[in-house]
């Protein structure tokens, strides 16, 4: 149970005959049944030097240079990760390019070349891959350029390197893909359960835990059983690995919800999973870790769901990093006439993009093409205190109270209603009958409170 309500309350909700707080449905029908299809190598890829949280990578190739798929083209700097060529090609330019989240950023542009000119690098299996020390594994993970593939894009090696004083007893593999429309993790679990399970075991060894919990939402039971089968096929090595089914309910896949659902532990407000002795990794990340440790294969492509009423043929696509979104859409039959909105990521927490000529980056797990002018097109009404947002909020915050305070220009009075703890899952804004942009209200409140806190700190200092 990830949600706050006790059993008693749920029983009572049954009495009300009501549907309870409405949640965005899964809406995954369009792509759930479609296996992952590989995108043919595109004519051009744009590889931004920043696709992760951290310092930008430093290019090690020059314009006009010929590169092979898998070859490192930029070296990691500071806390960052390196970047690799994802197609065989020629460096067309190293300059500012459109970026899905940063608007514009330095990027290496490759144009593809014929098979004859360059061939893909080979990544043979390391026979000793099961016996590596954790430092070696961490180095390989970093070298492979792996970041969190669930959307956060936090460099994985950093997340695995525990801060001093932190002890961890459980590794959680997040297979709860709760965002509506998205099926990339789901299809990956079906297609490569072994890689995920092996990756999970490697991760467990790196952080030194015995217990691995893989959380899968209840609407993906087949994925859960695939993982279970895979786990059974792998020889036991003393690790306790369990696949657990959690209720399908947005936002089950959020770290805090999943940790609570699987372990019963509650991550304190504004804290990381470390606080409850847990490390969380996405299923796709686990698979990538497996590839990196076993084959020293860098992160070259990822599975992305291209879907929504705005695309003709929704698909799950394995595409090289750096592929232009336009190419992805074209692969999926192009846009329908009604398509008006492009969402990078899921429709709840993803962001709207103004254009399609931006590259697929490592953290992008979905591309949702929507119709209409967006939920807040008609303007919003006053808060009618219906309390739906309170029911929807997974953290028990009070978006209604925050929003009226922000509206009245008193954003700083909203701390006690949890503005600072919100991670913007959007569940409240989804249910609000007055169409209030609650996430944005919360953002305003958050920044006002932070500013106030800084000012206070400055004064006391």
């Amino acid at each position: 149970m990830s949600h706050r309500e006790t059993r008693g309350v749920q029983l009572f909700d049954l009495l009300t005959l009501g549907r309870g707080p409405s949640h965005p449905g899964p809406r995954k029908e369009a792509t759930a049944g479609r296996p992952i299809e590989a995108l043919p190598p595109p004519a051009e890829v744009v590889l931004p030097l920043v696709q992760h949280l951290g310092d930008p990578a430093v290019p090690v190739v020059k314009k006009g240079e010929l590169v092979r798929r898998g070859q490192k083209i930029a070296e990691a700097a500071g806390s960052g990760v390196p970047l690799h060529a994802t197609i065989n090609g020629k460096v067309k330019s190293i300059d500012k390019q459109a970026h899905p989240t940063l608007v514009q950023a330095q990027a290496i542009v490759l144009t593809s070349v014929a098979e004859a000119e360059a061939t893909e690098l080979e990544f043979p299996e390391d026979p000793a891959w099961r016996a590596l020390g954790s430092e070696e594994m961490l180095a390989r993970i970093r070298e492979a350029g792996i970041v969190g593939l669930g959307g956060a894009a936090f460099p994985t090696f950093r997340k695995l390197r525990l801060p001093p004083g932190v002890t961890v007893d459980t590794l959680i593999i997040n297979g709860a893909e709760c965002e509506p429309y998205l099926t990339s993790d789901y299809r990956l679990m079906l297609a490569e359960p072994r890689a995920i399970v092996e990756g999970a075991r490697l991760l467990a060894r790196i952080v030194g835990v015995q217990r691995i919990l893989i959380g899968v939402e209840s609407d993906k039971r087949d994925a859960a059983s695939a993982l279970e089968v895979a786990a059974g096929e792998i020889a036991a090595d003393g690790l306790d690995l369990q696949v657990r089914v959690v209720p399908a309910r947005y936002p089950q896949g959020a770290e805090k919800q999943l940790v609570t659902a699987l372990t019963g532990r509650v991550i304190p407000p504004r804290a990381l999973p470390y606080a409850v002795h847990v490390v969380v990794q996405n299923v796709a990340t686990a698979a990538a870790v497996h590839d990196a440790v076993r084959f020293r294969r860098p992160l070259l492509d990822r599975v992305v769901t291209v879907t929504g009423p705005g695309v003709v043929q929704p698909r799950n696509v394995r595409a090289p990093i750096g592929t232009l979104l336009a190419d992805l859409v074209r692969f999926c039959g192009g846009l329908t006439d009604q398509a008006t909105r492009v969402i990078s990521g899921g429709p709840m927490m993803g962001r709207a993009l103004p254009r399609l000529d931006v590259p697929l980056v490592k953290g992008m797990n979905g591309l949702v093409l929507l119709t209409g002018r967006g939920p807040f097109e008609e303007g919003y009404g006053p808060c009618i205190q219906c309390g739906r947002c309170l029911d929807a909020c997974p953290l028990g915050l009070e978006p209604n109270q925050v929003s009226v305070r922000v509206e009245a220009g008193r954003a700083t009075e909203s701390a006690e209603f949890g503005a600072l703890e919100c991670y913007e899952c959007g569940a409240c804004a989804y249910v609000c009958p007055s169409q209030r942009p609650l996430v944005q209200f919360l953002q305003v409140a958050k920044s006002a409170l932070r500013k106030q806190r800084e000012n206070l700190a400055a004064v006391t200092r």
């Binding site: 909700d13 336009a326 309390g387």
Partner: protein, 328 residues
């Protein structure tokens, strides 16, 4: 490869989340109005054209006042969202059928102007506007509000005098026996249930109110916490009187429990808050009916409980995710 060739910029950029429920405030309000229709229709059928006049008067007053206030406050016209209609309708349904239509109109105007718009409109009012309107009418037109009861179906048979008293009024003035006599003996519970008794226009038919309430429950618009609280509180308070069932089935308990105690704006937001709010209404209703100065107390009970709502909202907060459960 078909369809429009991509790319096709620029696309619409809106803040997230990019999906939204199809529910809207106006939709909810109109559903509530729709759910009130059965009992409204019954009221008109039982009490005849005077009841219709009262309903039209109250609704016209409420809607007119809202439009006027929109104008004065230079707001967008908010009449279409159905909340003014809802206030007017609820007010009318709690009025005696023989109240003059102009009194209902004034009540509707007061309810909207001073119960709602003076605070800035929908969402900001503290008291249930319909109940403010009714209390205002009780203060302003005491006689009409005390004697305006009509014998059910009498309008059609053109009896000489069609005014009468409500069961609760009779119980207050005489005793339980007289009240039982009025509703036709101990078997009268059936009449109370279907709504063949003197009373406010929309309060008489328990069955039809329940029908409307079921619609709202099924659509997830209301929850049962507050209504159950009301029934529990009233039952608790009247259980000593020996006429708890009469108290439960007469007066405006059902209408109030399902349509007023569940009003979003003027009820607490959390479930425990709603439950306590409902119990409070029930207790106060029983208190006023048995020891207070009015035969029917639900209107004032709701208003007094409304006054407690800001405090209840502070006391009953949603269960915040705390550090509890985390091993230290």
């Amino acid at each position: 490869m078909s369809g429009t060739p991509a790319p096709r910029p620029p696309f619409v950029v809106t803040p997230g989340p990019h999906l939204r429920t199809s529910e809207s405030t106006a939709g909810i309000m109109w559903w509530v109005n729709a759910a009130l229709l059965p009992t409204t229709a019954w009221g008109v059928w039982v009490f005849g054209p005077p009841a219709l006049e009262v309903i039209l008067g109250a609704v016209a007053g409420a809607v007119g006042a809202e439009a006027l206030a929109n104008r004065l406050m230079k707001q967008r016209l908010t009449v279409k969202n159905g909340s003014a209609v809802c206030t007017g309708l609820l007010l009318a349904l709690t009025l005696p059928p023989l109240v003059p239509w102009w009194a209902a109109l004034i009540g509707g105007v007061f309810a909207i102007l001073f119960g709602k718009m003076i605070f800035g409109g929908l969402g900001y009012n503290l008291f249930n506007p319909a109940m403010i309107g009714r209390a205002f009418m009780m203060a302003s037109f005491p006689v009409a509000m005390t004697i305006g009861w009509s014998i059910p179906r009498a309008w059609y048979s053109r009896l000489e005098a069609i005014t009468t008293a409500t069961p609760l009024g009779v119980m207050r003035e005489h005793d339980l026996q007289a009240a039982l006599h009025l509703i036709g003996g101990p078997e009268g519970w059936f009449r109370l249930l279907i709504g063949l008794r003197p009373g406010s226009i929309g309060e008489v038919s328990v069955v039809l109110i329940l029908l409307g309430a079921l619609v709202l429950l099924a659509r997830g618009i209301i929850r049962l916490y507050a209504p159950l609280g009301v029934f529990f509180g009233l039952a608790l308070m009247t259980s000593f009187s020996g006429a708890a069932w009469l108290h439960m089935l007469s007066g405006g308990v059902w209408l109030a429990a399902f349509f007023m105690a569940t009003d979003y704006v003027t009820a607490p937001v959390t479930r425990p808050g709603q439950l306590v709010f409902g119990v409070l209404i029930g207790l106060l209703t029983g208190l006023i009916r048995m020891w207070g100065g009015y035969p029917e107390g639900i209107c004032f009970a709701i208003l007094i409980a409304n006054a407690m709502v800001p405090a209840l909202d502070l006391w009953f907060r949603p269960g915040r995710v705390q550090t509890a459960g985390a091993p230290s």
